[in-house]
Symmetry: C2
Subunit: 517 residues, 2 copies
C-alpha cells in the first residue's frame, strides 16, 4: 500500500502550506493516487458503509461516482492558487472568458472525437433532446463561435469535462476533470498567436514552479509531408500518425512493428519515417530539413518548415526558445489539428525524483501537462455555410498539476490556510456573547474578516486552540475590564504577545497587521 | 416582441458598464428573458440553421440544450463581479469552500426531494453505476459530511445544479443554473449561526445594490405547532404547509379553498390557520404570540417562538433587524427543514419600477433571491448509524441576480470591460513586428497586461480603434525615432494625450496610470 509521509521533499514554492493533519484520509488518497488505489479505497469504503448498513439503516453506498472525487477545503485552497496563477497569465495576455453548458446536444459532439466517442457520457432520454456531457472545451467553443458568428476572439475557459475512461487503465486520470483552455480565433499573420500560446504555457509552468519542463513542437503539415515522401499511402496518414504519437512511450522497434505488422505499412516506408521521427532539436534542425531535398520538395512540408522557422524567431523574441524543442515524433491524438502542434512535458519534478527512490511505479509527476495546436477547420464544421474561422490554442492538464502541488504541500511543513479570517473575537468570561457579537458586527462593517465561536460561554483555551488550528493570526479578546476601558486586547497567535488597542483604532490595527493581497 | 433599449434606468451601482454594442443579440436575449421568449429565439435559430443546412451541409441544429445558455464575455464580466461580492462576504465570515462532482449516484438523491424528484436529470445507463445530475448543493453537502464523518464546518459552495423544469412554465428559470450556498454544520448554541446566515444575506443584497429587499423568517416548529392547535391532522402537516407556501402568490380565499376543497381540511381549521398566517411583524409579534394561550401551550411552537425571540435579539446586535420580517405565512417548499426558515425578496427594484411602466408582465426584478433554513436531520439520512449533524444555511438565487445586474448594465451608458489589458503596443510604421514583440515581452515580464495586433503591418487607426472598443486605457507606440531615442510614446486613449516615456521607466509609468485592484 502506498504511504503518505514517505516524501522528504522541500520546494521553494512560496506557498504557505502544511501536512493535511485535519483532513480525511480517504478523501486525500482519492485525490492524488492512481486509479488502482482509488478503487481500493472506494471498495473499502463500500464495505464499511455496507457493514454499517446492517445496523438497522437502509443499505446504500456512501461514495462519489466512479472516477470522480470531492475536493476538501485544503484541496480547494490549492486549486484556487493554481487557477489564480493560470487566470492571471491569461489576463496578462488580454483574454476574455466565456462559459458554455456542461452538456451539449449529442449531435454537436458527434463525429468530432473519432474512436474516443465511445468515452462520451450520454444523458438518459427523458423525453426531450438527446444530450451528452461535454468531452472537452474545444468543440463547445467552436459551436459557440459558429452559432454566434464570431470571427475574432481571444478567450479562456476553465471548466469540468467528462470522459468515461477506464480509470484502472489510465493512471492519474479522472472521469470528471478540469480543463483550462486558451484559444485565439481569427485570421491573422502566420505564427504570431501560435507563438503567444507557447509563451503563455511557458509563463504558467514557470510560475507554478512544478519542476523542469520542455515544450515539444511539431506541425501536422510537416508530418503529412514526411509521410508522403516516405511513401505512406494518403489513407494511412492518420493511423500512422497515431502510431508515431506512441514514440514517447514505446521504443522505435515496437513502433515500427506496429506500423508494419498491424497497420500494413511497407517496412522501407517505416524505416524512412524512423530516420525522421528520431530527430529533435531547434532552429538548426529546421534549417537542416529545409535543405533536405525530398522534404523541401514537398509543398505541404515546406510550408510547415517555413512557418516553424518563423515560429522560432518569435519564440526567441519572447525569450522562451530555450525550453522549446522541435520534435518530429510529436503527433498528438486529435484529428482536428491542421498546423502547429505542441505539448509541454515535465522532465522530472523534485517530488518525482524523491518518490522514485521509494517506489518507481507510482510517479504522477512526469508527463504531459499542457498541449494544443492549430485547428483551422473545426468551426467550419459547425457553420451552416462552412465558413472557416482559423483557431489556435491549448489546454492545461490541471488535474496532474493539482496532484503535483498536493505532493509539494504534503511534503512541506507549512500550513495551508483554508479561510482568510483575520481576527477571532474571544472572551475569557461568561455572559459576553452579545458583546462579542457587537464587536464582530463592527469588524464586518469595516470589511475585516472575523469569526466568533457559536457558543454562549466558550472556554478561552478552546477559542485560542481554534485560532491555532485554523491559522487565524489575531485574537481580539474582550472582558468586563476591556469594555469598561474602551479597549480590546489584541493577541498575536504566533507569538502570544498581547497589547491593548483603543476600540476606535481596532480596525486599523488589524488591517495593518494582516495586510492581505 | 420584447425590445431592448426600452429602459431608461439609472443606477448608482458603481459598476463600469455600457450597452452591449458588440455582443450577439441572440445570446443577450437568451440570458435575460423569460422562457417563452427564449424558446422563440431558439425556434428562430433552428429555422435559420436548418435553412442554412440545405445548402449542401449536413443538417444539424446549432443551439444549446433547452433551458441552458452560453455566457458571452460581457455576461461573464458581470457574473465575475457578482460572484466576487458574494465570495468576499462568505470569506468575511470565515467560510471555507469545497467542491463535489456534478453527478451523484442516483440513490444518493433518491427520497430527498419529494415530488420534485421527477425533475432530476439521469445519465444514460452505459454499463456502470446509475448516475444523476445534482439537483441542489445541499444533498451533496450532507453526503460529503456523512462520508467524511465531518461534524463541524462552515463552508460555501458555488456550482451549477440541474433541474428538468418546464422552462415555459417557470419564468426566468433555467435548467442549468448556479447556486451559491453557505452552510454551517455543527452542534452550537441556538440561533447564533442562524443569525449569522441572515446577516450574510443582508450583506450580500446590500452590497449588490439590487434595490429594496426584505428577509422573511419563520420556523417550521411554529408552523407545526400552529397546525396542531388549529386542528390539522398530523398526516396533513406537510401538504397544508405547501399550500400555506403559496400565500405570496394567491389570495387567502384561494389558499383556504385549496386547503378545504383539495386537501380535505375542515373549514374551521382553515379559518384558524387564516388568522395566524396573515400575521407578520417583528419582535412585538413574537411577544404577542408568546401570550397566545393556545400557541404557547404547544411545546413545539413554544420552542420555536422562544428561539425566534432570541434570533431577533441577535439580529439587532448585528444591525440588520430592520429588514427582517417575522412572517407566519412563510413555509418554504423543501421537506428537510426542521427549524428556522427564511427567504429574501426584492420588494421592488429600480429597473422593475421603470419596466412596469412599459410592460408589467415582463418583470424579472421582484421575487425571491435567497432562501434557506435549518435542517438538522439530513446528514443523519446518509450516516450508516444515523448520527445527526445539525445544519443551517442558505442559497443565493444567482440567476435572477444576474438578470437584474444585466438590466442595470444595459440601462447605464458606461462600458463593461471584458479584459484587463493595461496597454496596447502599437506602431505607425511597417516592419516593426519584432520590435513590438520585444517590447511586449518586456511588459509581460514585469507583470503588465499587454497586447499587440497579430498582424505584421497593421494600420495605426485599426490599432487605436481596437483600444477604444476594448476599453484599453493606454497605447505604447513605437517607431524608428522612438527606438533610436530609447523612448516609447505613451498615449492615453480617453484624452488622446501623448507623452514620451524613457523605455526604462515605461513599466512603472503604466502601472502608476492603471493601478488595478
Amino acid at each position: 500500500m502506498y504511504k503518505f509521509g514517505t516524501f522528504a521533499v522541500k520546494f521553494s514554492s512560496g506557498f504557505v502550506c502544511s501536512s493535511f493533519e485535519n483532513c480525511n484520509m480517504a478523501a486525500r488518497v482519492i485525490c492524488s493516487l492512481p486509479y488502482e488505489q482509488i478503487s481500493n479505497e472506494m471498495a473499502n469504503l463500500d464495505v464499511k458503509t455496507r457493514l454499517g448498513a446492517n445496523e438497522g439503516k437502509p443499505q446504500f453506498v456512501l461514495k462519489t461516482p466512479k472516477g470522480t472525487r470531492d475536493y476538501n477545503p485544503k484541496q480547494m485552497a490549492i486549486r484556487e492558487k493554481v487557477f489564480n496563477t493560470i487566470i492571471n497569465s491569461f489576463k496578462r495576455h488580454g483574454a476574455e472568458t466565456i462559459d458554455t453548458p456542461v452538456f451539449e446536444l449529442k449531435e454537436t459532439l458527434t463525429g468530432k472525437y473519432g474512436e474516443d466517442s465511445k468515452l462520451i457520457y450520454d444523458l438518459k432520454d427523458q423525453g426531450g433532446e438527446l444530450l451528452s456531457m461535454r468531452y472537452d472545451l474545444t468543440v463547445p467553443f467552436a459551436r459557440y463561435l459558429a452559432m454566434n458568428k464570431i470571427t475574432n476572439i481571444k478567450r479562456y475557459h476553465i471548466a469540468k469535462v467528462y470522459r468515461r475512461d477506464n480509470p484502472a487503465m489510465t493512471r492519474g486520470r479522472y472521469r470528471e476533470f478540469y480543463q483550462c483552455d486558451f484559444d485565439v480565433a481569427g485570421q491573422y499573420d502566420a505564427m504570431i498567436p501560435d507563438a503567444e500560446c507557447l509563451k503563455i504555457i511557458h509563463e504558467i509552468l514557470s510560475e507554478l514552479q512544478l519542476g523542469e519542463f520542455l515544450i515539444k513542437v511539431n506541425d501536422r503539415r510537416i508530418l503529412d509531408g514526411m509521410f508522403e515522401v516516405c511513401g505512406v499511402p494518403a489513407d494511412k496518414f492518420r493511423t500512422i500518425c497515431s502510431t508515431v504519437d506512441k514514440m514517447d512511450k514505446m521504443a522505435w522497434v515496437d513502433v515500427k512493428n506496429e506500423m508494419v505488422a498491424e497497420k500494413g505499412l511497407a517496412p522501407e516506408a517505416a524505416d524512412k519515417i524512423g530516420e525522421y521521427v528520431q530527430l529533435n532539436g531547434n532552429s538548426e534542425l529546421i534549417d537542416r530539413l529545409l535543405e533536405d531535398d525530398k522534404l523541401s520538395a514537398n509543398k505541404v512540408a515546406l510550408e510547415g518548415l517555413k512557418d516553424m522557422k518563423q515560429l522560432f524567431v518569435y519564440l526567441k523574441l519572447f525569450g522562451v526558445e530555450e525550453k522549446i524543442v522541435f520534435d518530429l515524433s510529436l503527433a498528438r491524438g486529435l484529428d482536428y489539428y491542421t498546423g502547429v502542434i505542441y505539448e509541454a512535458v515535465l522532465v522530472q519534478t523534485q517530488a518525482d525524483r524523491e518518490t522514485k527512490q521509494n517506489d518507481s511505479s507510482e510517479s504522477v509527476g512526469v508527463g504531459s501537462v499542457a498541449g494544443g495546436g492549430r485547428y483551422d477547420d473545426l468551426v467550419g464544421m459547425f457553420d451552416p455555410k462552412g465558413r472557416k474561422v482559423p483557431c489556435v490554442g491549448f489546454s492545461v492538464g490541471i488535474e496532474r498539476i493539482f496532484s503535483i502541488m498536493e505532493q509539494i504541500v504534503e511534503a512541506s511543513d507549512q500550513k495551508v490556510r483554508t479561510t482568510e479570517t483575520q481576527v477571532f473575537v474571544a472572551t475569557a468570561q461568561k455572559h459576553l456573547l452579545e458583546e462579542r457579537m457587537k464587536l464582530l458586527a463592527e469588524l464586518w462593517r469595516s470589511g475585516i474578516k472575523a469569526e466568533i465561536m457559536y457558543k454562549k460561554n466558550p472556554k478561552l483555551l478552546n477559542q485560542l486552540q481554534y485560532c491555532e488550528e485554523a491559522g487565524i493570526p489575531l485574537v481580539a479578546i474582550i472582558g468586563e475590564q476591556e469594555l469598561k476601558d474602551g479597549v480590546v486586547k489584541l493577541r498575536v497567535v504566533s507569538t502570544r504577545d498581547e497589547i491593548n488597542v483603543a476600540r476606535a483604532n481596532l480596525t486599523e490595527e488589524i488591517a495593518k497587521r494582516t495586510c492581505q493581497s
